[in-house]
Subunit: 245 residues, 2 copies
Amino acid sequence: MVINVNVEFLAKDATKAVGRGDLIIVIDVLRCSSTIVTALYNGARAIIPAKTLSEARKLRAKNPEYLLAGERGGLRPPDFDLGNSPLEYVREKVFGKTIILTTTSGTLALINSRGAKWVLVGSFLNARAVAEKAFSIACEEEVGISIIQAGTEGRFSLEDFICSGAILSRLPDESVGFSDSAQAALLAFRYAKNDLYANLMRSNHSKKLIKLGFGEDIKFSSQMDIYAIVPLFRGGIITKINSNY
Amino acid sequence: MVINVNVEFLAKDATKAVGRGDLIIVIDVLRCSSTIVTALYNGARAIIPAKTLSEARKLRAKNPEYLLAGERGGLRPPDFDLGNSPLEYVREKVFGKTIILTTTSGTLALINSRGAKWVLVGSFLNARAVAEKAFSIACEEEVGISIIQAGTEGRFSLEDFICSGAILSRLPDESVGFSDSAQAALLAFRYAKNDLYANLMRSNHSKKLIKLGFGEDIKFSSQMDIYAIVPLFRGGIITKINSNY
């Protein structure tokens, strides 16, 4: 069997992948998906994506023990516990916690993917782990794989594209059929991989983050395969995937 | 001055570039733009893109001396003089002729670009020539440059993406500001350029063309910088750009 593998460039195109019945991997390298992977690695119990600030605040009002996290315009709202920098999600702050997270693009891509049975979260940090898990589920369930790039303000984002290629590079070539967009991402990754950090720094979103003082987040998020964590989004909640799957 | 350079992945997005006031370069490597460049190189006087078969036939009825050319489903309609294979457009057939051309994706991208003052046609064959001309016009007129990929059946196409990168690689780095999509295309081209033919062969559209017996067209269209021809689409007609521009 050959697994069809596709890449969609925008959060709004998640619905196409849902329609195909594909397993979905959501990517928002800067910074939502890198943050989710890091939080789970550091022992967060669960992450609940919220679409709007007010939805996030309401959920917190009902659950005062949850942490309230996220950004608008890259910055932490003043009443929030955490922003959207993966470097903030250290063990001391997140271990055992449930985190309500609302971001501009990443949580939108997740929420648009809700109709799929399998929604995983990918980043450079867990590229190999998420690719291997996605492939094994896709073989088991006989479905395709679609990567959904969250993008930046509704537009194509370079860092998500390179990360798509990074994840695809961890799939077994001989058992997958890559779409044109998937092959394009693979080519870009193969050239960019010699200096991921420098290549991520060229993106429009990186330039904005640097201006806001988040340059270190880009460096951190460009590390490949450092965490063997696979986040699963199901029933409105993201948790570390259970090894029984 | 820095020239903003962008890439749009689909024919329908030409209208965005028109809205920005950009100079447009239309690409449909397999095969419309490769065919147009080859026809003009071999002395065709002009090419008139037509959206539909019936529009093309009507135009021909009024001008019996014109050649009728194009494809549907990759194949030449039986009453047409020429198909959409660049290899057909030899000097003996096209020198001094006006050609009515209707194709599935390429002519659509051209027609969607009509509102722009400058619409050039790009391919691997004329990558350097079209890049240099576009850059000099954009500097003169202080506008951005947008590459419009025709795509295949409304979808992202690998061969057009690699060709976008090929054209962008001929621009002077220090004087242009590449969008994320432009940078992505550049990365893919830089990896693919060591074997353009093999990389083009991986695309979905290539596989269809090979089935139809047009494998040689892919090989021909993957040659880079062999023609110093810059087609200009203006007033509904494509001609070789005048050296006065």
